[in-house]
């Protein structure tokens, strides 16, 4: 395993270039270009705000802010997984022609989406400043939470990208699963809306829930996230990452024959 890590580090230039290519190529040819990085979450925010505060009438102070805090990391999550599913399959020309550590491909997707997430953050920070929100030292915990999420996403993306080579249905299955997953996370509603007796089940089976809770703690509630909570998801993420790495490594040897 360390040998693989070492090799991935040797190919960091390729990773860097692929992330760059991903970011540049995504909006290539569109009139607004890179501005879409900002417009996309903003438009989503408008839609969700309309539905949930105007139609569904969620009673919450600065609901849009709460929504946005959860929506950004969720977008990171969803785009990484949907794009990551195809990371190996869509690069069959590289896989069948050139040797390089295959992990680079899903990894570049996660990193590119992380950069996108970071680029959208100024909008959130701007909104916080505009609303005269109380920004405390909790912001310092943000990099740690981001790292935990990235670790988990890398593990998940490694798994889906490798499995999709052998089961092309995964990509379609995943898009449905992700919609369900979205509503199982406290993004459009606060966690307090979950009935007390179900809260245990609700939090323990969804690794994204504690992440969203941590993010809303940092930005919306301006409080240091619960350390116990953080420790749990750190363990979760490391486990997913290791499992993903092992599965990927096991399957990658036959990629060139299957794609």
């Amino acid at each position: 395993m360390w040998q693989r890590f070492k090799e991935i580090i040797e190919y960091r230039e390729m990773l860097r270039n692929l992330v760059h290519k991903e970011l540049r190529a995504r909006y290539k040819g569109s009139a607004l270009g890179f501005m879409w990085t900002f417009f996309h979450p903003l438009l989503l925010l408008v839609i969700y705000s309309f539905v949930f505060s105007f139609v569904m009438r969620v009673q919450m102070e600065n609901y849009s802010l709460y929504l946005f805090t959860g929506l950004l990391p969720w977008t990171f999550h969803v785009t990484s997984l949907t794009m990551g599913t195809n990371a190996i399959v869509s690069n069959s020309n590289l896989i069948t022609k050139i040797y390089f550590p295959r992990e680079i491909l899903p990894l570049s997707i996660v990193l590119a989406n992380m950069v996108n997430y970071l680029l959208a953050l100024p909008i959130l920070i701007g909104a916080l400043i505009y609303l005269d929100w109380d920004m405390g030292p909790s912001l310092l915990v943000f990099p740690l939470v981001l790292l935990i999420q990235a670790l988990m996403l890398t593990g998940l993306t490694l798994i889906v990208s490798a499995l999709n080579v052998f089961f092309r249905d995964l990509e379609h299955l995943l898009s449905v699963l992700l919609t369900g997953w979205f509503f199982l996370c406290p993004i459009v509603y606060p966690i307090s809306m979950i009935p007390k007796e179900y809260i245990g089940i609700y939090t323990s089976f969804n690794p994204v829930t504690p992440l969203i809770i941590a993010y809303t703690d940092i930005f919306y509630y301006s409080r240091i996230p619960n350390w116990n909570n953080l420790l749990t998801i750190t363990g979760f993420s490391i486990a997913i990452f290791v499992i993903g790495f092992i599965i990927f490594n096991h399957l990658q040897k036959s990629f060139a024959e299957e794609v």
Partner: protein, 441 residues
Amino acid sequence: MTTAISVQGVSKKFRLFVDKTRTLKESVLFWRRNRFYELNALNNINLQIKRGSTVGIIGRNGSGKSTLLKLLSRIIYPDTGTIKINGKVSTLLELGAGFHPDFTGRENIYLNASILGLSRSEVEEQIDDIIAFAELEKFIDNPVRNYSTGMYMRLGFAVAINVDPDVLLVDEVLAVGDTAFQSKCQEKIDSFRARGKTIVLVTHDTSQAESMCDYLVWLDKGEILAEGEPHDVVGAYLDRLSKLEEDAALISHDKDEESRREQRAERVEKGDNVSECEGQHTDTELTVPEEKSDKMKAERWGNGVVEINSVKMFDVAGNEKYVFQCGETVQIAIWYEMKQEIKDLVFGIGIFRGDGLQCYGTNTYLDKFKQSNYPPKGVVKVTIYKLNLLHGKYFLDVAAHSQKGLPYDYLTRHWSFTVRSRIRDVGVARLDHAWKIEQVV
């Protein structure tokens, strides 16, 4: 002696699916059906390649050459056995893999080089060389989308060749660009060799393999048939190829015979009255072929008083064959049957090149061949002591006619044979010759 590549007991099987099950639904519904068969791409390969050597892998299509190269480059993995490579490996399997069409040439150099494992500083050091080598100074900041195929390939080659690995694996990509660019590629490869790098080259081109490599491996059906000195291996390989060609030629000869018979039957059906011609030795009776313009069309005409039943060619040992080496002794045998007794029967042969040029033609009359009487049913044997025709495909005409030229049976372009030669001299035939240079006082 240090080993650069060590391959031990490597086997690789491929599953060829008749109709590949890909979706979850299908694999659940048809999980019992294994609609594939296994193909042994490589079978227990053992190979040691010395550092600094240039090794060629030759073989026919499907012999496992590319599979071996892909195994060496770690794109696919062996089922059994181990492969050890000392040093950095670079593969030239496909040029410009990973180019992004919307990026400029320069950006793609960075991208492609990093895929091949170069660091940024290494690329920056070499980028001017790469651009100059690809001869793309003017267009390097245009998107590669607008490049021609040649430009695209040149850029791909320039990047790949400048990676500077310890072991270079090449899969028939040297045929890139025009002649000038090719010779530049050749120089680059030569300088590679000069610096003691190891090269493994997969190729169909035996003359390239012979001139470039100092060790050859001949793969056939996933096994190493021979390895060693390029000259010996190429010789053995070409022998095998011409053997295969001979077998194919024998089969095609039989087919020609068949079509000739059909034509005969057709002619009789058409109502060419054979008996009418009996004894009338006038040229007006000639049945002129209808499509004279088509030079290579197999034709048959004549009044049928003498019928040529079959024609075969043999080598000096009496084996029937239709592929000969230049200079080989060849015997042509013509089986005939006389329908009535004729006094002035003449047998002739003619040899034509593919473009219709007559290379040689003669007959028993011209050669003043005398034999008291011809048996009514017999075989004419012509021995050509030295078939000195040059490399290529030839057609054989055979005829039985009267001294005045009245055809009894005239068969043109019905049979063909091939002459092989490793000397690429030009013209029609190789005239027996010798060179000598003397000092003039």
